[in-house]
Symmetry: C2
DNA sequence: GTATAATGTAATATATAGATTACATTATTG
DNA sequence: CAATAATGTAATCTATATATTACATTATAC
């Protein structure tokens, strides 16, 4: 599932590992979320938002059509 | 985890069962999410947003402080 | 160009989201 | 107030988010 995490993370100058540490998750999890291969929980989404100083909509919002195309 | 789902669902005149059907989940899952006793996945959050015509921030956003208080 | 940091990704294990079944409680409507 | 619809919630099961370990590839710095 597509998202804006990678660009947001880089803009606050964090590596995947640093972000992972901040939100208490493994680097792999961050990597997979950025790649759109994961369906994170709301809690994790919120923690990521706080860490990179963005809102849910800014990082994770998808219009319904994009959603329906991106079947995965 | 607190959220605005119940009020949004009622405002589009759906029962928990109807919402559950629309998003392809059980009524129990909807109930628990409304009660703040569940940590839904991003996909489910998005589908709920589409069903009640709200955004992620409108339904699920929590400021960091509220978050930190609401430990669960 | 080589060392090192950062990232991608695969296999297996564990924790937990969500389903299922069931029953109780709380609205709502006649 | 009685019947029914809507909702709360508990126990058990299944699917999947996330951890762990490990190794490969890609970027960055010397």
């Amino acid at each position: 599932m597509k998202n804006q995490l990678k660009i947001a993370r880089i803009s606050v100058d964090l590596t995947q590992q640093q972000l992972a540490d901040k939100v208490g998750v493994t680097r792999q999890t961050v990597s997979l979320i950025e790649k759109g291969k994961y369906n994170p929980t709301l809690k994790l989404c919120l923690q990521i938002c706080y860490a990179v100083n963005k809102t849910l909509d800014e990082l994770f919002w998808l219009e319904k059509e994009e959603w329906e195309n991106a079947k995965n």
